[in-house]
């Protein structure tokens, strides 16, 4: 296992460097955007004196590099600062949203990943048949239909017409399992659409690749039963790309679900980051960017480790 540990350490070191570079890039991009937080807060009433006064309060009159270093210093001592816009601690703002994002991503993954794997694997096994074609058609459609359309249609049918499910997310008086299920049904369904389609297509492609190889042909010839063939002989070798597809989808679920958050009024991180960018709220933008980047790096690392562990050739190298 020593090589794996060495790999892990190396990857973590590179990840830290990546985070640093990303923070510089995000900071520079925020600086390049027209306007600043003082103008955003004052809006139409942004007279030059008012803007100047507010800039001084927010330390925006300091040079950019100094503001960046101040922020970085704060982060290293675990003080990500205060939001410039509402003066609340960034940690508090993120703290109230992060669990929501994790919950939504987790629930969606819990529903979508098994369904996607089953669809992908079965489509690969019966490739070329009618079933495969139908799954192919459905997954392509699901990927191409924009989320806002799926969400709006689902709300119209299940909430407005049938009154089966709530049209949006709100805090329930009691958080019973049934209540949670109802509240999350539509957002999770909408997100699952895209995620299932992507993972299923990836799974099918990866598995077909392996199923076409000569060792599988050999196994067939020696009389291995089909189920055993797919699950024990072929799937382990296809796991690498599949796990990567899952990791990418989950990282998308953490930060890229702005449309679903907007339509269902779900208090997650994506909306927080969009707000922060709109108001040029640097500490908040940076904090969100760091979280998304960390989550992405960790998930991809996890996927790689999993791929290595699942593949004897990589494991024993």
């Amino acid at each position: 296992m020593a090589p794996l540990v060495r790999l892990l350490m190396a990857r973590l070191a590179v990840s830290l460097l990546t985070l640093l570079i990303v923070s510089v890039l995000v900071f520079m991009a925020t600086e390049l955007l027209p306007g600043d937080v003082a103008q955003a807060v004052l809006g139409q009433s942004a007279t030059p004196e008012a803007v100047a006064a507010l800039r001084a309060v927010m330390h925006l009159d300091q040079p950019a590099w100094l503001r960046y270093l101040t922020w970085l210093g704060g982060l290293l001592t675990l003080h990500p600062g205060h939001s410039l816009v509402n003066d609340l601690p960034v940690a508090q703002l993120i703290g109230s949203r992060l669990p929501n994002s994790l919950l939504l991503a987790g629930l969606t993954a819990l529903v979508a990943v098994p369904v996607a794997l089953v669809l992908g694997i079965t489509a690969a096994v019966w490739r070329g048949g009618a079933y495969d074609r139908i799954v192919g058609l459905l997954t392509v459609s699901a990927v191409s239909v924009p989320e806002f359309l799926v969400a709006t249609l689902a709300v119209l049918v299940f909430a407005v017409q049938r009154h089966w499910l709530p049209s949006m997310f709100y805090e329930m008086p009691d958080r019973s399992a049934m209540q949670l299920l109802r509240a999350f049904a539509l957002p999770v369904m909408t997100l699952s659409f895209v995620v299932i389609a992507q993972i299923a297509r990836m799974t099918r492609a990866a598995l077909i690749n392996v199923l076409d190889s000569s060792y599988v042909e050999m196994a067939v010839l020696k009389g291995v039963r089909p189920l055993r063939l797919v699950l024990l002989h072929a799937l382990p070798n296809a796991l690498g790309p599949i796990v990567n597809a899952v990791a990418l989808s989950v990282s998308f679920l953490l930060g890229g679900v702005i449309i679903v958050e907007t339509i269902f009024n779900y208090p997650g991180l994506a909306k927080l980051m969009v707000d922060a960018v709109t108001t040029r709220d640097m500490p908040l933008v940076q904090a969100c960017a760091m979280i998304f980047c960390t989550a992405y790096l960790l998930l991809v690392l996890l996927a790689d480790v999993f791929a290595i562990l699942s593949n004897p050739r990589l494991r024993h190298r």
């Binding site: 007279t47 006064a53 309060v57 703002l93 208090p267």
Partner: protein, 539 residues
């Protein structure tokens, strides 16, 4: 009863209408009401109709209890419960739940006493406010003059960055004259100080408050939860100083930015009031059973701007041709589903107490437009007209005008530009373009911001020294009749000479559950000027 009583408004002035409602509310019979009306000189048929309507309104007696969810149209990390730093409708709703102002603006933007029992001045420069006794903050402290001084002084602090600072800096001295009395001295006389005090930012907070993670006001609801960009929850203030109010136990307020999602949430029964809906969505709401559209007519407008300091668009005949080319009725019907009021190229709308109803309405008249076009000598030269979705509905208006212009041989060349950056790159810069003006609390503020010769936002660069001196004179005039005459004159001047075409005043539209009662229009904005919280109840 979601819309303005059509029979009350044209025949009675507002004071009379209010008296009538009060009498009806106090249990007066139809005969008594008609007698009162007849004494005022109203005919029998008309008084019968009016009396019946007043009784119908009073039959809706408020009920106590229940809770509602309300969705506004914006929400984000800028959400605040600091009255001084409010910037969006969502803040106005929230602060109206938790705080009171010294005054409040009524249905025709006249200031009414709230925390100030009276406001008086002999010269419109030194004002004396008598404060209401026995008003408590949510933490139990009694409101005194010190709280008022602190709240108003704070607005002037450049470090706070309040959008109301330009309005607040006219107060040169704010002094407590006793526990229940405040004296405000202005730099120059302003009869509209009580109006300014009734606007959103002039809410009263407790002396010394600097932390706004929650709200401690004197308002009808206490702040139970405030999470910026997520939601705010207000619960009934049992010690509220207005007897019997509020009616609801709890209000949960949040923003749903997507128009369709907001309407869907209402129709699914998840919210009871949806703020700011699109005119196109009104049919969907009306078609559903148990939901109503609530229209607030207000002074907001989208206007055509012809810059008078540019040779081509500064031609008086060309401007007049454009004004005659606006088919206002068609725009009202086709673009706004009739949720608009026809405008007359001057910015004071009919809900305003200073509106001049005797100014002749400018019609859609292609013949007169053709006459002026010919006189202008523009000929067939293409005239670029800049429109953008940033100025709401301006693209539709431009297209309708282009069609009418083509018929008289005027070549309007529509340039549709992106919404992003419109206000900094095109508005006030392009020779012929559109603007979009939100309702303002007073005629003085509106005219000072957009029509005074040296105003930075003087859209058409219209300069008239007589107008400027009238504006200043009206500001310091305490005699309402004299003031009204001055504002009437100014409306005529703008209508005839400024380079501004105001085809319509746009209504604010909200949608609500039919069970939600008590909504009455206040033209500072939708949802009762964002002050629905203490006035609504569930039937």
């Amino acid at each position: 009863m979601s819309e303005q009583d059509p029979a009350l408004s044209p025949t009675l002035d507002d004071a009379d209408a209010a008296t009538l409602q009060r009498m009806a509310g106090a249990g007066a019979t139809r005969r008594a009401l008609m007698g009162w009306l007849a004494a005022g000189g109203m005919g029998l048929t008309a008084s019968g109709l009016v009396a019946t309507q007043a009784l119908a309104a009073a039959a809706e007696t408020p009920k106590t209890g229940g809770s509602i969810r309300v969705a506004g149209y914006s929400s984000g990390t800028t959400d605040t419960v600091d009255p001084a730093r409010q910037s969006l409708s969502t803040d106005y709703v929230r602060c109206n739940m938790f705080y009171n102002g010294l005054t409040a603006l009524d249905a025709n933007l006249t200031p009414q006493p709230v925390l100030a029992e009276s406001f008086e001045s002999a010269d419109a420069r030194v004002w004396t406010l008598k404060l209401r006794k026995g008003v408590e903050f949510h933490d139990g402290a009694t409101m005194t003059a010190d709280d008022v001084v602190y709240s108003l002084t704070r607005l002037q602090d450049p470090k706070i960055g309040s959008p109301a600072r330009p309005l607040a800096t006219q107060m040169t001295e704010i002094k407590a004259m006793g526990p229940q009395e405040v004296r405000i001295t202005l730099a120059t006389p302003n009869a509209d100080l009580p109006v300014a005090l009734g606007t959103f930012h002039f809410k009263i907070i407790k002396n010394g408050t600097t932390n706004f993670t929650t709200a401690n006001g004197t308002g009808a609801y206490k702040c139970k939860e405030f999470a910026p960009g997520v939601r705010s929850v207000g619960v009934r203030n049992p010690h509220y100083w207005k007897a019997g109010k509020p009616y609801l136990d709890q209000i949960e307020f949040f923003g749903i930015a997507d128009d369709a999602a907001r309407v869907n949430a209402l129709l699914a029964g998840d919210i009871q009031l949806a703020g700011g809906i699109n005119p196109r969505a009104t049919r969907q709401v009306k078609a559903a059973h148990g939901y109503d559209v609530f229209e607030t007519r207000s002074g907001g407008y989208t206007d055509l701007i012809a810059r008078l300091d540019v040779a081509q668009t500064g031609n008086a005949d060309f401007v007049m041709a454009l004004k005659y080319l606006m088919d206002r009725e068609q725009m009202k019907r086709a673009i706004f589903q009739n949720y608009a009021v026809v405008g007359n190229d001057q910015p004071i709308d009919p809900t305003n107490r200073f509106y001049n109803p005797h100014l002749a309405q400018r019609p859609f008249d292609p013949e007169r437009a053709k006459f002026h076009l010919k006189k202008s000598g523009i000929g067939a030269t293409a005239v670029p007209l800049v429109a953008s979705t940033a100025a709401s509905s301006s693209v539709d208006m431009a297209v309708l005008m282009q069609g009418a212009a083509r018929k008289i041989g005027l070549n309007l060349d529509i340039k549709q530009v992106p919404a992003g950056g419109y206000w900094s790159n095109y508005w006030l810069k392009a020779p012929l373009c559109f603007g979009n003006i939100n309702p303002r609390p007073s005629a003085d503020i509106l005219l000072t911001l957009f029509f005074k010769s040296d105003a930075p936002w003087n859209e058409s660069k219209w300069k008239d020294t007589k107008f400027d001196s009238l504006l200043l004179a009206a500001r310091s005039e305490l005699d309402l009749a004299k003031r009204k005459a001055m504002y009437w004159d100014m409306q005529g001047m703008i209508r005839d000479d400024a380079g501004i075409g105001i085809p319509l005043f746009l209504s604010n539209l909200d949608a609500h559950s039919a069970r939600l009662k008590g909504l009455r229009p206040i033209p500072t904005g939708g949802m009762m000027g964002f002050d629905f919280a203490e006035n609504v109840w569930l039937a």
